[in-house]
Each structure stands twice: as C-alpha cells, then as structure tokens.
C-alpha cells in the first residue's frame, strides 16, 4: 500500500506527520495548474503551532528539492515524481496522473521527515508552514540564479578533470554498485511494464471469451448449463485478472520507478562528493607547486579537508540508511507481487472447482436416473 509508511525510529518517536491530498485545479489567464493540500501535525518545539495546512503546487516541491540538494550535497534527497512526460498513455491532469503524482509527493515529504538530518532543514519547515505569499517572498531570497549557474559550471569543469584520483576505496565500490544497480533496476522497470501490458492484453481477450459460451448455450439443451457455467467461470477469472493488474500498477510499478529515479540521484550524489574532493585535491596540487604563501594555503586546505570529511561521513551514513530502506522496499514490494498472484490463482481455483463439483453432481444424478426402471 503506497500510503503505508514504515517508521525507522518507531512510531512513538515520530513527531512530524504529513499528508498530501485534495488536489485542486486553478485556472488563470496564463496557465492551469494543480495545487495539493499539505497538512502537518507536529509536537516539535521549533514549530510555533501544532498543526498547519497549506497549499502547494509541483513547482514548490521542485524548489524544496533543489534547496535541500544545495544545503546537503552529499545526502540522498528522495525522488520527486517527474514533470509530465508524453507517454501517450495518460493525459496531463487526468485523474490517474494526478493521483499517481499525489501519492509520490506524499511519499517525498514523508521520506524527508524521516531523514535524521533533512527533517530539521529550515527550508523544509518553511515549505510546510508558510502561507503562499510568505513562501514566494522567501523563495526570492538566497543565492541568485547567476551564482547558482556559476556553481554548476565549476562542478562540470571539475568533474571533467578526473576527480577520481584520490577517491577512497569505499566510494569506488559504491560507484560500481550503483552502475550495476542502476542497470538492473531499469531493466526490472521495463520488465514490470511489459508484464502489465501482457496482462492487459490477456484481460481484453478474456472479456470476449466468456460470452461466446453463453451464446452457444442458447442453441443447446442438454449442455446449456455446463456452457453457462464455463462462461461464468471465465468471467470471474477475468475480474480476478483485473485485480491482479491493479495490484501491479498500485505497488510494483511505482516502487520500481522510484528506484530508477533513486539510482540517478545516487549517481549525482557520488559525483558531488567527488567534486568536493576534487576541490581539495586541486588546492593540494597547487600548494605543491608554490614554495611561498604556505601558511595561507594550509588554512584553506584545512577547511577543505574538513569539508571532505564531513561530506564523506554524511554520504556513508546516508548510504547505509538508503540500502536498508531499499532492501525493505524491495522485499515488501515483491512479496506483495507474489501475494497478488496467489490471490489471483486461489480465486480462479475456487471458481473452477465449484464448477467441477456442480458438473459431477449432475453426472451422479444422471447415473441414478438411469438405474430407475
């Protein structure tokens, strides 16, 4: 169930409860957009009130994510549902699309709330509590667009320079792991979609299959009941197939998709760590070439060394946490898939067994009537 959320620290320790619901569409002269209601209940002292209700649109979530990435470059920020992609299956602003997005946004905020560091982020607090105009004015503060662009340019440049020189073994292992994981999770995502498609095609054919038997029964006398029985069994199995498909689309597909996004996020986090290390390495190299101004440099280097150590520790801790959650998510999702399939087969089995029982009863009745004179 997508709204179920496990509590890492146990429900008794949780002091921040967030829900995302009630999508509403807004039409202005320029655009149409959806806002979602975000309700927060908390017992934390830092919050002025114990309950908040605000409206947020997708843009606001994007802003929050980028602020978190900025403040914690080597922490694993949870994935956001993507902007609308023309997949041809779902229309923008269709009920299905909005509901899928709502669930993902709900998960996003709760994952942040559960994160030992991110939960105390100031921008997060403002996101949850500020009224619309307050949020707008807060968004306008902070480093401007140009400086952010500058950071990006530097980041790209340093990554090109091969920041992997002094990378600790542990992070190389993480990189290798993530490359394979990313590949596999993408494959699984495709496989799961393929299964969904095949099941849907099967369902569509089955819908036509049952009624033919009913049609046939209209021309028959002796076997009419058997034919009608088969028709009803097929129809019930058809409905069971529909349920199985729903299970896939509500559980497995969203989770696999999240982890596809996660694998991109993690590759990004590893790169940013490399960049931070790269800054240190390049300063150290520069020092090696200069004989004078050693003192100035060594203070700078000291600061960078601290920065690298903090980044590495943060990432290591978050990585362990992420792996544990991933294991839990995968275990629970695939177990759920197996349960779904079990329910499907058990329901079909019961249907056919009861049909068979009804037929063999008839046979016994026929045999008895033959014995009578």
């Amino acid at each position: 169930m997508i709204n179920e959320y496990k509590f890492e620290d146990g429900p008794e320790l949780r002091d921040l409860f967030i829900t995302v619901d009630d999508p509403e569409s807004h039409i202005t002269a320029i655009e149409t957009f959806i806002t979602y209601r975000v309700v927060t209940k908390t017992s934390r002292g830092e919050f002025d009130s114990s309950e908040y209700e605000v409206r947020r649109r997708y843009q606001d979530f994007l802003w929050l994510k980028s602020k978190l990435e900025e403040a914690h470059p080597t922490l694993i920020i949870p994935p956001l549902p993507e902007k609308f992609i023309m997949k041809g299956m779902v229309e923008r602003f269709s009920d299905e699309f909005i509901e899928t997005r709502r669930k993902a946004l709900h998960k996003f905020l709760n994952r942040i709330a559960d994160h030992p560091t991110l939960t105390f982020n100031e921008d997060f607090k403002i996101f949850l509590t500020a009224q619309a105009w307050e949020l707008s004015s807060h968004k306008k503060q902070g480093p401007g667009l140009l400086s952010r662009m500058g950071q990006t340019v530097r980041a790209v440049a340093s990554s090109v320079r091969g920041a992997v020189k002094n990378r600790p073994e542990m992070f190389t292992e993480m990189n290798n792991y993530m490359e394979t994981f990313s590949q596999k999770i993408n494959l699984l995502d495709k496989i799961a979609h393929r299964i969904y498609k095949e099941e849907r095609d099967y369902f569509n054919e089955m819908k036509e299959y049952g009624p033919i038997h009913t049609l046939w029964s209209a021309s028959e006398e002796d076997i009419a009941d058997s034919l009608k029985g088969i028709a009803s069994c097929i129809d019930r199995c058809c409905k069971a197939t529909e349920k199985r498909m729903a299970g896939l689309s509500e559980n497995l597909l969203p989770i696999l998709h999240e982890y596809v996004l996660y694998s991109e996020i993690l590759m990004g986090v590893l790169k940013r760590r490399d960049q931070i290390q790269g800054e240190l390495d390049s300063k150290v190299d520069a020092l090696a070439n200069k004989k004078t101004e050693k003192d100035l440099f060594s203070e700078e280097i000291g600061k960078l060394e601290d920065k690298v150590e903090r980044a590495n520790n943060a990432l290591k801790a978050d990585w362990d946490r992420w792996k544990q959650n991933m294991q839990w998510d995968m275990r629970s999702t695939f177990t759920n898939v197996a349960e779904n399939n079990l329910r499907y087969y058990e329901e079909c089995l019961a249907t056919w067994e009861s049909f068979l029982a009804s037929q063999t009863v008839d046979l016994h009745v026929d045999e008895d009537s033959e014995d009578r004179p």
Binding site: K184, R194, E205, L215, S219, D222, S226, M330, A338, W352
Partner: protein
Amino acid sequence: MEDCLAKKMEITVSEAEKRTGRNAMNIQETYTAYLIETRAVESQSEGQCAPVDSLWRRYSEFELLRNYLSVTYPHIVVPPLPEKRADFVWHKLSADNMDPDFVERRRIGLENFLLRVASHPVLCQDKIFYAFLTQEGGWKEMVNETGFQLKADSRLKALNATFRVKNPDKRFTELKHYSDELQSVISHLLRVRARVADRLYGVYKVHGNYGRVFSEWSAIEKEMGDGLQSAGHHMDVYAASIDDILEEEEHYADQLKEYLFYAEALRAVCRKHELMQYDLEMAAQDLTSKKQQCEELATGTVRTFSLKGMTSKLFGQETPEQREAKIKVLEEQIQEGEEQLKSKNLEGRDFVKSAWADIERFKEQKNHDLKEALISYAVMQISMCKKGIQVWTNAKECFSKM
C-alpha cells in the same frame, strides 16, 4: 453395439512417417504416411496375444474412405476427418503440415476417426472399411470398383444452392439451422481461444525475464542475494510451465474441432433429405402435368397453353390416330411415373426414419462428448491454478527472505 467392430478389434494409428514418392502426375512429392495397427481382441483366458497386423495409409486414402462412406450411407452422420490444414493457430503453433506437432495431433485425430467408424452400428459393418484396415494392396481399386462416385450427387456439393422445397420435414429444417449455428459458434470460440492462448503465453514468458535480471542483481547484493537468486529460479519455472499447459489445451481445441466438422456432416444429411424431397416434389409435379396433358388430349379440351396446341389450332388438328398414339405414350409414362413416385415416397420415408435414428444417436454422443470436454477444460484450468499457486508460494518465501 455388441456387433460393432470396435469391440472385436483393437485399432490404433501408432506412427507417422515422412515419405517421398511420385504422385498421379508423376511429380515428386513429400507426404506423411500413417501406420494402422489392428489386433483381434482375444478373450483373456487364452493368455496369448493375437498378432498385430499393420499397414500404411496416407491422408488422401482416409479422405477417399470418408467420401465413399458419405455417398454410400447418406442417412448417416459420418464421422469427420481431422483438419487437412492447421487452422485456428496461435503464434507459437506452426501452420506447416509437416510440423511434427501438427502431424502428431493429426495422427491422434485419424485414430479417433477410425474408432468412431468402428463403433458405429451401421458403418462398422462395411466391407470397404474393413479392407481399409486390413488390406494394404488393391484397396483403392476396390473402392473405385464400387462405382460410388457415380452415385454421388454433385448438387450436394453445392452447399449454398437452395432448393425450393414445399414440404420439408420440419425437424430437418430445424436441424440444419442448428448445425449452422453450431459451426458458427464453435469457429468463433476456437478463434478467440487461440488469441487467449497467445496472450497467456506472453504473460508467462515475460516473467522469465525476471530470472536473468534477479540473478545478475543478486551478484552485487550481500543480504538480498540468496532470496533474489532463488526467486529468479522460480520465475523461470513459472515461465516454462506454460508450454505443457497450452499443449494440453490444444487437445481440448481438437475435441471442439471434431464437432465443428461434425456439424458439416449433420448438415449433409439434412441436405440429402432436402434433395430427396425436392426430387419427390418435382416428380409429383411432373406426373400431375402429364396426367393433365393426357386428359386434355382425351377430352379434346385445352386448358393448358401449349405450343403444340397453338400450332394444331393454326395448322389444323391432329388426326385421331396421332392423338391415340400420344395418349398411349403418355399413359405409359404416367404409369412409370406413378411407380417411380411410389418408390421415391418410400425411399423418402425410409430415409427420414433411418436418418432420424442416427441423428438421435449422434445427439446423445455429442452431448456426452461435449460435456466431458467442458469438464476436462475445467480440470485443466484447476491444474494450471494449482501450479501457479505452488510457484508463487515458493517465490513469496524467497522474496520474504530478501
């Protein structure tokens, strides 16, 4: 039923073999030959098994046999042959006549055909049929010598030609409608079943992809590795299980197909009745008109328009001698006609009686066989569900250990 051949003789079509040979036009061709084995059923007290006789026949010979039976026993619903070409195939099945699976299913179908004929109270006594089973050489000549092709009414082949029959037996008319409906509904069912089979195949096979990816993923995981690996194995088992399931279902489809073709045989009997009734009505009409002509000539009144009448009016009457001669000819024809009509009537009534008896027999057989087939379909579904439950129970256990 005590007398039927099936009780006295074990009949099997045990093998199929590819052959090459020259056909009637001296062209090299490849065909499949089927081995028919027969053995007299001895009482068990003898303790020894009777020897097995065997001979090879090809499909075209079976066709010849069936044509002969259809023409010779038009009042019987003659069992149908398995299909000549693979029809209602879904993607995995081959439409190729030489495909071993098709040949195997045809072998079973041919055996079934022989058993049906051998257990029919009338057909099993036919000498040509017995020779088909026991006499390898000269059988074709024997069949042709019966001259059955001459008896064949080509009008029966024109399936869609309608005959304006004034008084058909209503039961046959209803039966013809039933056979049309049966043909139509079974065709439809088989078509959709093939599509359903195709889709089901797709669902199962795609799960096989899990196996490979889980296995590769498990290589980078420490704790999750074992669970993933073993779950992947179960997914492979699941994907492979569909092959046997669908092969079994193919036999169910063949059972339905037999009755699809039986519907045609049923229709043929109805058509025969229609034709006989038509010929009867035509003969009666002809007789009536001849009687009328005779009367007119005798009394000199012309009630019916005839060219002769007109010309005689224009060019003079006939002489009394000419008239007498004509009347005599007509009286002979009328007598012949009355005898023919009597025998046609008798024929017609006999046909209706014996055909209806066989139709009742057929109806019982059909109801029994189809009910059994439907039950076997349910049994197959149950088995498929149980296999599914087993695999997913195992998979669930592996997943929960991840």
